[in-house]
Symmetry: C2
Subunit: 693 residues, 2 copies
């Protein structure tokens, strides 16, 4: 993709990190590159730093290995001195993270010498040009997106952007990247699959999905029936099931494998080297392009399994492998994506949700998908409230236009009946969609002035689902004044807080969501004050739906909370626990979902919901969904994350006290929640008159 | 004070609003003015608009009467037309406030004709200059403050400000104004006084104060023993008591009279015309200048009575007559003023606390008083946090300097013992003061380098009391993000929210503190969403002291909450209910304290305290101080204030629903508080380890 030899001088040296060796490597290099090597007398080395890093236990961190190789090959300074200095700076950079991390990096320096030389064949100088691979991708992808991704964006003329001059950008460009960066990807073993779809539910990149295939669809597929299993479920009778993997978009985190319950203790997924799985990409490609969504055959909001039959409208983002945030963002698009509008705060979620030219938000087979825009840290909720108010105003106009239809001498009785129906049901998502689908073609056929007025506003016929998404930095700190103002407004917006307990995108600074005892930037000795209880704050209004969730701990509770929040006709706030690379999970980000489960099991995180709708029925609006934690596991949980474990190394004297305070605070929170859940609630006839205000 | 004839032309017309008539008026006019009248052939009219306004029931609103007089005298347009237009605009301006208000203004227009002509004696032309009244006031008052107050500030040269070029301004300049603007002031009837000091406690302008007078002080007084009564209290044996009134600084609200319990149902205070009370001003002047504070003979923090023996260090501000805010501000200066630092938000409190050249914050007889500065709406809490952190840092330096004394070969053992004592007790207000008072003279005498280093920082020897003061607009809305951040910090600051439930100083816009049903700007049809529960939000941190108070409802609870908040070693938030002219209290601002009592009695406002210190002892930190309200009185309370009553007039159809919602919300809040107060609390050994973080 990149022009990697650009700038390489005659007689220069080139080092390649690759999984191939010798002749196989030569075979896989493009002609253009080989010709350049021969024509310019280049000395070529290669190394499999990816494999070495894994062997050492550094995951995908190849930087130290490659740096070591660089010094050994170039000899810009004596190699001994280079090694000595690299090791000195390893202690400086990683000393705080423990001897283990230091030792691994030492090993990386030592193994940087494992490079080999590639013989450059002088005959390569006369190799022909590489064949151009034709594709059917949209012009915008080929002419704008790909050059930008190849770092040639500054060569594009203004005229290339002529269709996007208003600042809009096409949805769904991320799927054309097919980066293939995972060293290992899941392989589906159909015989052990129980079709629970938990793997798809947690996938941060939407690159494993269940497909339900009709006999007709199967007939044209590049795979046979034996690659599938009978789909479970009455409405799927006669259809086949495949859990397909998009190996080129998978980032190889392995959470799918980790959550797979399998059959009789044998998992239906296992991580395999990418190169062994490249041949199944065609299965994915066929399913995505040719197998129709079967979401309409089930109630997708009913349970976790069903939710995954809805096509994700957020896919292949640039989030980290194993990201704890994106599974929540993706799930919302599956439940409400065809009518979803998102106001996104600055932070990780704004970067992975829309970094030009890559847009992971996409459209369904009907061309419907979320509309997304990004504002700042400090006003993201107001930004979303503005969208909501604009929508309200436009629907007021639409309401007036629709009433015009009722008096129209031209419109048919059928149109009038539907118009009346719409006026009654316009705030019901499913019904407004159903009516709109019938009404628009009839009105287009009618063509009278009254119908034209409605059609001018047809984008507002379907009830929208307004979402406001931000991290804990935006929500607990910088944008909190606005968040508070917006929930106070009583307007029907849904706020999702992706709580990594730290400013993730800017490098891990402490926020008010950072718990006591955690190390973060600006809290280098471990934070000394408690985590803010943003959710409990929001409950004080009484008319705000609030939930704390952690997908890995309870997939069903997550689904229920998101469903209830969206259905509630008023402000909603969902605080979602999201493991992050900044936490330094010792088990790795492939265990992110398990880490969520551990967090709840030991009392570190709590699951609860506050539903104002319950109070109107005389019930306690507060429900504690977490079981009594196993407090004995609390300290082990902390020790499993570098952000806590490093306190022990750096401040051993205070670590015990901080850990104890962290546990005491978690207990204090849990006790608060338990007390709230146990409160007596009676029907007060006068309090019953309180509605959403 | 003002040069009122400046700009008046030869043969011009002059109208004076005055309580005097005819010859008495002539006698009271300065020679300078009379000479101007005679020399320039001025036609002079006068009217007692103040009396007329009172007779009509317009309080001190003389504007319509004087406007009517203006049109009648000048005949700039035909008088009939003027009257017609004035009445038309009265309906426009006040129609929403009810027919009663319209009728009163109609009467004002009609009675604007009750002016008389003053005969100008041609002999006045040769009157001599008025005698210059000598005074002993500071040069700064005579040379800077008075010219500015006389609207001659733009005539002052830069050099006049040479001592204040750094932006500081002298404290206590307000007392030199002696505006004498109250038509009626309280007269003390010693025979019915029980010395409870409730009058002084509620006075918004600190212009009624108890003095305890020794025989020596009495001997030199301009009044005899018969003007006093024996002071009640063991420590006052042999002394006399006087409740002195500063009739020239009193704004005549009458709250002192209203709260006076009197003896056997007969009040010890009654409002009398100012002119009948002018001769007692000398009593006040003598007491203020010559009677020493007896605060040291009692524990001023123990109870309401004692608190008033501490000299208020906030006096004679420009707040409205009957202001509900200033009694709280004043009380804090009485309890902590000698070591108080205030960060003040923009709003009424910033205007009345420091409008150049008038500074109501002042110093005690030892020259000690609050330091005050004002920042913006949106950062007032951060502003105060900055002061607190600066103070912490300076005290860290002082701590190091003090340790230097311990090792000093020159310092005496006495100094070293006191230094050790200070290091142990530096965070105890009383002890740090006591040690500082002994240490400073000894160190000044010693003069060694170690002592010099301490003396450079001697301002930080005494523990400070950091206050952050703002209105509901700043606290609930614009500065809320900062307020939240500051209380989250765990630092030892005290935030006082003066809750008028509306943006008072900018003209009555709705804030998130505005309750449902109230009319305000931007909520012209009555606010539709509930009042935000700022206090409950703050309790979610668990380490923030929080209280809701209303002085008029429970003077002792107010004192207790302020005392506990200041003593708590962590952040505190006090939300004080403050009646305001924007409420349109039908009984008048002289009933502001009674209105607070009514608000609590009917359940409109609730009194409670959340003390984290209690939780450390295994007790429920939440205490509900309000009794079960008489809900039947709720609607009458609303009808007693124009902000609610006008909803009935303007939106009769919705008023009942809004009032019901307001009552339901008040009940909902009260029920929440009651549930919190009734929660079971147990000692959890691990939770006990939680301290202020």
């Amino acid at each position: 993709m990149y022009d990697v030899t650009r700038g390489l001088r005659d007689g220069g040296t080139f080092l390649l990190n690759t999984i191939w060796e010798g002749e196989e490597l030569a075979k896989n290099l493009p002609n253009k590159v080989k010709r350049y090597f021969a024509e310019h007398n280049i000395t070529v080395y290669y190394i499999n730093a990816t494999r070495i890093a894994q062997e050492i236990g550094l995951g995908n961190r190849t930087n130290t290995i490659l740096q070591s190789a660089f010094f050994r090959i170039t000899e810009v300074i004596p190699v001994d001195l280079a090694v000595e200095q690299m090791k000195k700076f390893i202690v400086k950079s990683y000393g705080k993270k423990g001897q283990d991390v230091v030792d691994k990096n030492y090993a990386a320096v030592d193994r940087g010498g494992e490079y080999k030389k590639l013989d450059v064949d002088p005959a390569w100088a006369s190799l022909p040009d590489d064949a151009v691979v034709a594709n059917n991708d949209p012009e915008f992808i080929n002419k704008v997106v790909r050059p930008i991704n190849a770092q040639d964006g500054d060569l594009l003329p203004v005229s290339a952007f002529i269709n996007d001059a208003d600042g809009t950008w096409a949805q769904g460009t991320a799927k054309y990247e097919k980066r293939g960066v995972a060293a290992f990807v899941p392989e589906w073993d159909k015989d052990n699959c129980i079709q629970c779809n938990k793997c798809a539910y947690v996938c941060p990149h939407a690159s494993i999905r269940p497909f339900v295939i009709t006999p007709e669809e199967l007939a044209a597929a590049p795979f046979g029936e034996d690659a599938t299993i009978p789909a479970i479920g009455k409405t799927f009778t006669g259809m086949r099931f495949m859990q397909a993997v998009d190996v080129l978009d998978c980032l190889g985190c392995g959470n799918c494998v980790d959550v797979c319950p399998g059959k009789k203790g044998v998992k239906a997924l296992a991580m395999k080297p990418l190169e062994t799985q490249l041949d199944i990409q065609k299965n994915w490609d066929y399913c995505v392009d040719n197998v129709k969504s079967k979401a309409s055959l089930v109630d997708v909001k009913a349970n976790v399994k069903n939710s995954q039959f809805a096509t994700p409208l957020f896919e292949f983002s640039g989030a980290c492998s194993g990201c704890g945030e994106t599974p929540y963002v993706k799930l919302i698009t599956q439940l409400f994506g065809d009518r979803e509008i998102v106001a996104n705060a600055t932070g990780c979620s704004s970067i992975y949700s829309g970094s030009v030219p890559s847009t992971p938000y996409t459209k369904d087979e009907n061309g419907r998908g979320p509309a997304w825009a990004n504002s700042l840290f400090e006003d993201f909720c107001e930004f979303g409230l503005g969208m909501n108010i604009a929508n309200e105003k436009m629907r007021e106009r639409l309401d007036a236009a629709m009433r015009g239809v009722l008096d129209c001498p031209v419109c048919s009785e059928e149109i009038k009946a539907l118009a009346t129906n719409w006026l009654d049901e316009k705030n019901d998502a499913a019904k407004s969609r159903e009516i709109a689908d019938k009404l628009v073609p009839l009105m287009e056929a009618c063509g009278c002035d009254a119908c034209k007025k409605v059609l001018e506003l047809k984008h507002f016929l379907v009830k929208r689902s307004q979402w406001i998404i931000g991290g804990d930095g935006a929500s607990y700190d910088i944008g909190f004044g606005g968040l508070d103002h917006v929930i106070a407004s009583g307007k029907d917006v849904n706020i999702l807080v992706l709580d990594t307990e730290v400013y993730s995108n800017t490098g891990g600074q402490a926020s008010k969501a950072t718990p006591i005892g955690a190390i973060a930037k600006f809290a280098a000795a471990g934070k000394r004050i408690r985590k803010k209880d943003l959710g409990l704050i929001a409950t004080t209004y009484g008319y705000v739906y609030v939930a704390q969730i952690a997908m890995g701990a309870d997939q069903a509770q997550t689904l229920k909370a998101i469903r209830e929040a969206e259905a509630y006709d008023g402000p909603s706030l969902i605080i979602a626990y999201a493991p992050c690379i900044n936490h330094g999970i010792k088990a790795g980000m492939g265990k992110a979902q398990q880490e969520e489960a551990n967090a709840v099991a030991c009392g570190y995180w709590q699951l609860w919901r506050y539903n104002p709708a319950a109070e109107l029925e005389g019930k306690n609006p507060f429900t504690l969904d977490s079981k009594e934690p196993n407090w004995d596991a609390f300290e082990d949980f902390l020790k499993g994350e570098v952000r806590y474990a490093s306190v022990m190394k750096q401040y051993p004297a205070e670590a015990q006290e901080l850990f104890q305070a962290a546990k005491a605070n978690a207990k204090w929170r849990y006790n608060n929640y338990r007390r709230l859940a146990q409160q007596q609630w009676g029907v007060d006839p006068e309090v019953e008159t309180l509605e959403n205000n």
